[in-house]
């Protein structure tokens, strides 16, 4: 790091003063340089005592500063339009923290998190509602280590999380002890495999450019996490006099659209198809994507299978065939995957038996088309790119940005004959959709009065009280049999945000709180069905929700186990033909049962439960909703069936 000028306001001197005691006075610059040039001294040498020698008492040491580098950093962050900074406090970014709250007037607003994993997962959840990143501050060492799994989730989920991490690069500037432990040569090395870009700026101007560049990169499809290191010396030293710092202009990159020839070929296949299926996973990045997918589906009267990585398509749309996805895919002659993370898995099945076998579900001669920005950005180490899909047309582009031209290309090819065939197909699909919905509703009645409470009943009781309001489900339905997606009427983009991405557990609670934070200013009612194992990773997020008055209704899906793992264990015991009754060991969360209501109350959250009788659930939801409507979080511990 360039630091040629040693001025009396040098942090080195400030620190010496702080450590050395009362005699904190200016040090002769030349002497300091000479000390630095000395060969390594023995550990016994009283370094501080020697360096603290005040020297000639010519004038009082300058101990304060006007404008620090961190003030400029806040200028940059404000220019990027962040609403929130989620952070667990850390000394390596203390100057930035102070600049944010005092110089920046706490804009973006600091959200106090109790774990860096929570900070990142909050930002992750927020980004999926708001369509832009929240900022996260963390230590470059211990903080980033805590944050790493959550970053990986965001990476797999194509979510733009923006991180600033503190670090002290200059070894001679580190306080002995913790500051050394909290310093690292290459902080981002630990997570570089699963961030899109990172930088270590060595000047403030460099910080400005890299911070703006990082935002632009994070927001370019595929949207992904980025990390910028804020060196503590850069933060804490004054902005050098006369240095003209400006905040670089941000221009977001227009997302990449599909090649026109390939789009025309895709349109030709789709229009000519008898049974086309559109599979959408993270296709609708924004509400516009939802509208465009509806338009494409209606133009073609094609089946839509929604993998629900995002809210891509209304659950009650007659062309929605998600409930009968297997049959729809098996019957298709053309399949289009839109930002499908695992296209191979969408058209193949694999058996988890002793001998793992797989088979193609799609017809062998079905034409397969993919449009994904995933093809524009692949890393090697972590395997989130999934198995290699053999397809006929692969379009490396952002699906949402490509849909408009694909729709136009389809419309140009549709003759009146095709149109009649499409209408007929649409009628049949509408019938199949209704049949599937009726069947799902019937299935939901089985175990209706069971205690523990069935997940279908839980979601139905919730639906009874939120429908008709402006709600947003901020949790993933994968662990509760997908019931809300089967039963509820989702038709707005913010009503569902998909899952964790990397299946790293601990995402659920903080992502829900982050999404609820984003929903707050829109006045939406955020609801979260909260898995018990997930909450136990970092339950402090409940306090964050209470402290920041984030309205969110959480219903525990408390099956008192890491249930997924229990099923895996059962599979192994059965395979080995032994101890099939012992698979609770190491996976159950009982004896003692965890009292989530008490945990919630301990964190300042309105909480009730445990509720195991389904008749008690509706009234409890009513009481909790009243609390949430008043602007506070509430939690109900619901003892549930496993799935």
């Amino acid at each position: 790091m360039a630091k040629s000028k040693k001025t009396p306001v040098d942090r080195r001197n400030f620190l010496k003063g702080a450590v050395g005691g009362a005699a904190a006075l200016a040090v002769d610059t030349g002497a300091a340089e000479a000390q630095r040039a000395e060969p390594a001294r023995s550990a016994a040498t009283p370094l501080m005592a020697k360096e603290s020698d005040p020297g000639p008492l010519s004038k009082a040491e300058v101990l304060t500063e006007g404008r620090s580098g961190s003030d400029y950093m806040v200028d940059v962050l404000q220019s990027l339009g962040f609403e929130y900074v989620c952070a667990n406090p850390g000394s390596s970014f203390r100057a930035l923290h102070e600049s944010l709250i005092n110089y920046g007037g706490n804009k973006p607003e600091l959200i106090t998190c109790c774990h860096e994993e929570s900070s990142v997962a909050m930002a992750h959840g927020y980004s999926k509602i708001e369509g832009k990143p929240a900022c996260v501050f963390a230590h470059g060492t211990v903080g980033l280590q805590h944050a790493s799994m959550a970053i990986y989730n965001a990476f797999c989920d194509r979510a733009p999380v923006y991180m600033i991490i503190g670090n002290t690069i200059d070894a001679t500037m580190r306080r002995p002890g913790a500051e050394w432990d909290h310093s690292v040569q290459d902080a981002v090395a630990m997570v570089r495999d699963f961030v899109k870009w990172d930088d270590l700026p060595i000047s403030l101007a460099h910080f400005g450019e890299s911070a703006v560049r990082a935002y632009k990169i994070a927001m370019t499809a595929p949207t992904l996490p980025v990390v910028v290191v804020a060196d503590s010396e850069l933060q804490e030293r004054p902005v050098p006099e006369g240095e003209r710092l400006r905040v670089p202009k941000l221009t977001l990159t227009a997302p990449p659209q599909g090649d026109s020839g390939a789009v025309a070929e895709a349109a030709r296949l789709l229009v000519g198809a008898e049974s086309p299926v559109l599979i959408a996973d993270r296709a609708a990045r924004t509400p516009a994507g939802l509208k465009l997918l509806i338009e494409l589906a209606e133009t073609l009267q094609a089946s839509v299978v929604n993998q629900m990585g995002r809210m891509n398509f209304p659950t009650r749309h007659p062309l929605n065939q998600t409930e009968r996805s297997r049959a729809a895919i098996a019957n298709a002659d053309v399949i289009l995957g839109l930002e499908v993370a695992d296209f191979w898995g969408a058209v193949n099945s694999m058996r988890d038996q002793l001998h793992r076998t797989s088979r193609l579900i799609a017809k062998p001669d079905a034409k397969l088309i993919t449009i994904t920005a995933g093809d524009l950005f692949t890393k090697s180490n972590y395997q989130d790119f999934q198995r290699y899909p053999e397809v006929d047309v692969a379009i490396a582009a952002d699906a949402e940005a490509t849909l408009a031209s694909l729709i136009e290309a389809c419309k140009r090819l549709i003759t009146s004959d095709r149109k009649r065939a499409f209408e007929e197909r649409g009628r049949k699909l509408a019938e199949l959709h209704q049949e599937a919905l009726d069947k799902a509703r019937t299935e939901a009645t089985y175990g209706w009065d069971a205690s523990p409470i069935s997940t279908a009943r839980l979601y139905t009781e919730l639906w009874a009280q939120i429908q008709g309001q402006d709600w947003s489900l901020v949790s993933d339905a994968a662990f509760s049999s997908g019931w809300p997606l089967r039963l509820w009427n989702f038709d707005k983009h913010y009503q569902y945000i998909g899952g964790s991405g990397g299946a790293g557990i601990g995402y659920g609670a903080p992502a829900a709180v982050g999404a609820a934070l984003a929903n707050r200013k829109h006045g939406r009612l955020s609801v979260n069905v909260q898995n018990d194992g997930d909450l136990m990773y970092a339950p402090g997020i409940l306090w964050t929700a209470a402290h920041h008055r984030i309205p969110l209704l959480s219903l525990m899906h408390n099956n008192r186990a890491y249930h997924m793992e229990m099923m895996h264990l059962q599979r192994m015991a059965n395979r080995h033909q032994r101890g099939i009754d012992r698979t609770g060991i190491g996976v159950t969360l009982n004896d003692p049962n965890i009292d989530y209501a008490q945990i919630g109350r301990g964190m300042g959250v309105h909480a009730e439960g445990p509720i195991a009788d389904p008749k008690d659930l509706g009234p409890a939801i009513g009481r909790a909703l009243a609390v949430v409507r008043s602007g506070e979080p509430a939690l109900i511990d619901v003892v549930t069936q496993p799935r």
Partner: protein, 119 residues
């Protein structure tokens, strides 16, 4: 912690559910009370729910289970994702008890009687 997602499997699995032919011979009479215990002890509930109501991890298998011969055949030699239960770990009599338990489960209320399921 890591897990593999079974979401959306139930409908998929039903599509490839076994069409195994029932074996000849009558089912041993089962004890539903004991079957209820075994259903938990042996882990059936993990995937099928405590009332066999089904979900993403396994289909509904009550209150009218498939005929006992087909039931046994499937549990012993599943053709899909379900883990096999050999006679080494579950006896035929125990399966009969489980079958009796599933057959004893109450019929669910009609959809029409639950307003939120009609909205």
């Amino acid at each position: 912690m890591r897990f593999s997602i079974l979401f959306a499997m139930a409908s998929a699995l039903l599509a490839q559910a076994p069409g195994s032919a029932p074996k000849a011979g009558a089912a041993p009479s089962g004890n539903a009370q004991n079957g209820k215990k075994l259903f938990v002890r042996d882990g059936c509930y993990q995937c099928h729910g405590l009332q066999g109501q089904g979900g993403a991890a396994g289909p509904r298998i009550g209150p009218r289970p498939i005929a006992f011969a087909a039931f046994t055949m499937y549990v012993r030699q599943p053709s899909g994702q379900m883990p096999p239960y050999t006679s080494k770990v579950v006896s035929d009599q125990e399966l009969a008890d489980i079958h009796a338990f599933l057959a004893s489960l109450p019929q669910p209320p009609p959809v029409k009687s639950i307003p939120a399921l009609n909205q």
